[in-house]
Symmetry: C2
Subunit: 570 residues, 2 copies
């Protein structure tokens, strides 16, 4: 990957009047969404998300955007806007805001409160350091240096999701954040985007394109609520609904329906309780008195008056639903006539663990519903038809698909081409691509911003690199094999029998023969390589043990544990 040179640009006169858009994340794997807008010296940032680790990143908690590009430009950051409160848009904020010297953050109330909550979670007391600007009114206009920021309503799977308009002297950027078009919303009017067609041209539509290969007809909110209401009302026993903790709109709707038909609701799961608490404080959720009951009051009501809303729809190991399925939940043991509803989608990568969770729940319970078999969930993302619709409504000058896998961005571009966009008005960025707009032209530069993975693991940010990861993969595959040889300085021979410790390779107690042979082999290797013991090249001895014992174990087992030789001279 080319790194961006820090040398001053040659086209100095032009540079003074150009807009640069740099997606630092979100254009390759899904997640760690973050976009930098740069005009003259001013910088505005949209979103600071995290990415959940891929399969070849064992032990990693999450991945955050690489902000090397911003190094030395911290003072120029006029503000960081957050489109909504999902982790792939706010999850990296506590780490990155601190590194960037806590610039102003801007967002709708729920979004900012969720950032504060996360900040406190990671580092108690630190949310006080944040400089915040709440967008209480969607009509608000904010001036950040040369940028003028305004907002527009979008439908997405979380309350307070907004789209952002970033006006610059060169062009007007329209970015809906994450979005969908809800054709049958409940309790609010249908959104359309035609008003954005009137913004000052040229306009640049940066469009989250996760639905670019999705041709399925979406479930509408009305359909989903009708289905949920029916299941809740007719349930013979308790109803357990697993959903995302950020699905506050749905939780609100369930609470309202519960109070209407006289059922009680238990909230279970740390994050669901925290999020509902935030939403209540903001007045977004106002449950009727007595509708929410504490979990230890569960038994005070007949089963068919109980609804449990819980976390764990993705099979997360210690979540409420996993504990219920495994039979080690303190308050809830599944009964045959309970109803379990997965009001959720399957996040790619979680397929098998969710299948296993379903298997376990189906074993315990006769009434299990999920979106494969019933309309119990609506997606927060548009499909292909929606992408066509929003492009038709906004009629942008330029189209930049973002916030999805690269292949989806390419497919979204194809949708635009089919609608008549000329090739030079569509840009498909990679992470780190620098898209540059001037009065004269628009282009992707050859140079790129650095975007190497920054891993978060425990307290460490960026301290786990490729070597550590490769070791973890090898350890996971075949374990480790430690050989400890004590060598007599006088004779150069092994004293006694070498010790062997292994983990994750074979069960030692059942491999005595293999161990005996290995010990013999170690003694041979030392005797051959250490020579008479006078001037011994210990690195050579160790390398020999590592390679020869490695090959020996492979020949016997077809496994390649990491071999660690410990050679001690006494």
């Amino acid at each position: 990957m080319r790194k961006l040179s820090n040398k001053p640009s040659k086209q100095k006169t032009e540079k003074s009047n150009i807009l640069r858009i740099i997606p630092l994340g979100g254009c390759e794997e899904v997640g760690r969404n973050m976009t930098v807008f740069e005009y003259k010296k001013d910088i505005v940032i949209l979103d600071m998300g995290l990415q959940f680790p891929e399969e070849d990143m064992p032990g990693i908690d999450y991945v955050i955007p690489n902000i090397k590009y911003l190094k030395g430009k911290e003072q120029n950051i006029q503000g960081v806007i957050f489109s909504h409160g999902h982790l792939d848009h706010i999850g990296a904020a506590p780490i990155l805001l601190k590194k960037l010297g806590n610039p102003l953050i801007i967002g709708r109330p729920l979004t900012i409160e969720m950032i504060k909550h996360r900040q406190e979670d990671i580092n108690k007391g630190s949310s006080k350091l944040l400089k915040t600007m709440y967008i209480n009114n969607l009509q608000d206009k904010i001036h950040l240096g040369h940028f003028t920021i305004s907002f527009f309503k979008v439908d997405h799977a979380i309350m307070d999701a907004v789209g952002v308009v970033i006006k610059t002297p060169i062009a007007t950027v329209i970015h809906p954040g994450d979005w969908m078009i809800e054709h049958n919303p409940v309790g609010r009017t249908r959104i359309n985007y035609t008003h954005l067609a009137k913004l000052k041209k040229p306009t640049i539509l940066m469009l989250e394109s996760l639905g670019a290969v999705n041709f399925k007809k979406p479930v509408t909110e009305k359909q989903m609520l009708d289905t949920l209401h029916h299941l809740i009302k007719s349930a013979p026993g308790r109803v357990i609904i697993a959903t995302f903790s950020s699905q506050l709109q749905r939780i609100k709707q369930i609470l309202e329906y519960a109070s209407k038909i006289g059922k009680k609701v238990v909230l279970d799961g740390f994050s669901i309780k925290a999020n509902v608490e935030i939403a209540r404080k903001l007045g977004y959720i106002k449950p009727a008195k007595g509708t929410i009951i504490p979990i230890n009051n569960l038994k005070k009501y007949p089963d068919n008056r109980i609804i449990v809303i819980c976390t764990g729809s993705q099979g997360e190991e210690m979540s409420a639903l996993s504990r219920i399925a495994a039979g080690n939940h303190h308050f809830i043991a599944l009964k045959k006539n309970d109803t379990v509803i997965f009001s959720s989608s399957i996040i790619p990568g979680n397929e098998r663990i969710i299948q296993r969770l379903k298997d376990n729940i189906y074993r315990l319970c006769d009434n299990v519903y999920h979106s494969e078999i019933m309309a119990v969930h609506t997606s927060g993302h548009s499909n292909v038809i929606g992408i066509q619709e929003i492009i038709r409504q906004i009629k942008p000058t330029y189209f930049i698909p973002v916030y999805a896998n690269h292949f989806m961005l390419k497919e979204a571009a194809k949708i635009a081409y089919k609608m008549g966009f000329p090739k030079n008005r569509v840009f498909v960025p990679d992470n780190g691509s620098i898209i540059q707009f001037s009065k004269k032209e628009a282009k992707i530069l050859k140079e790129k911003a650095p975007t190497n993975y920054v891993f978060v693991d425990g307290l460490g940010v960026g301290d786990v690199g490729e070597i550590v990861l490769r070791d973890r993969q090898m350890l996971a595959d075949d374990g480790i094999f430690v050989v400890i040889a004590i060598i007599d300085r006088q004779t150069g021979k092994v004293k006694g029998s070498p010790d062997i410790i292994s983990r994750g390779f074979v069960y030692l107690k059942e491999s005595k023969e293999l161990l005996a042979q290995t010990r013999k082999k170690v003694i041979e290797i030392v005797n051959q390589t250490a020579g008479s013991g006078k001037v011994v090249n210990w690195t050579y001895v160790k390398d020999n043990i590592r390679n020869k014992i490695g090959n020996f174990l492979f020949s016997k087992t077809k496994r390649r544990p990491i071999v660690l030789p410990v050679v001690i001279e006494v």
Copy 2:
């Protein structure tokens, strides 16, 4: 899990006239399909498949059925029938057949040849030990003790897939193996199953039910071929088609079309070449002379006359397509105007790796097609409509959904209930369930056959157990931390500075401060616990190092590497 008692059954008189059906695998996670049929002393087995490892089985190659139930009954096995040549039906054969003393194996020619090939792969020369019976004619009837076996045609994603009828004095079992209903087959007639309704009652339909939650309208073979032909014909450059190596029907069809329009075909990938070779020997594939060309002749033809059929549609690391995408294939470097077609489905668990593969290919190439966006693949499994159709056609007395995730079996049972099956005519087995049929009644016994995982890892079968797996998971998460302390026997004090080796934890060179603190801590711990050095409890010293250093590292990093204390007294 209850183990089956070896004590003689109390109902001795009855036992002499009962049929027992025991799915040893395939009824929980998908794969390792294997079913045992037992009547009086006679045993017949259907399929011996492997299961690919779940996410919590790091380093495991695959999982095979547990055959403890058959221990001591090896002599009673009359034969092992294989429904078709997919790995989840034949993959465990080389290991299990040997353990069972090489009983007679029965199958269609391609199936038997694929078993032999796998046998040779694992253990050269061993295929000669197999006792084989080729079903050359689908009308063949085989008598195996009290069992009479016959076969029927099914449509599935591999040639020579058959359904099996197992007639016993108690009941007639109908098992289509893996199956689908192809509504628009090309080059053969549409299959229906009404003839199976005439078999002697009671009949038991054991039905592979992977489609029990699939409501999608299937792509027909005709649609798929039309699409493939169109893409192949109109391709501006080379066409690269990734598919399963066992998709011999499709490979045959592509070869035929290629020769018709004068294109040349390169086969790339070890398993695809091996399978095509087997099919050629059997006369199943007869490519026109000169259609298949060796890969090093690629450059002799213009790009638009080249088709490459290769492995790697699942993103397998060293497969042809992965090497092409990564740019390290010896003969093929992708060009913008190449066409890449994924004529394949996504096996659950491979979603993210395939997304990444697609990302890489989309970067290099403008024309990428997969089943999300185009009809370039047909599934080998039925959907819900097909399940209803086959039940209606066969009209079985009993219905036992099998060969799918447990939750799918439950959903398949619901389909049967909706069609009017009474509850006592439907059995949803777990792995190891014993379903018992007598003249009087049919029931699932309380006792179960053992089905604990048997892991294959390298040359080891069953030698990796839960402890080794748990260690691998811990190693993968946070690595290992080896502390080596040499202790002076005289004083009980650490000699010099303790050595530290770590892998997969932190990059040591960048963690000098942490290491220095840890060394100090180790010295303290030894000095406190080893006492004066006279009578030292070394286990106590080591436990202290393990726990205290573990906690210290966690407090500093929030990671929990495995801590291995090596204490050497000199």
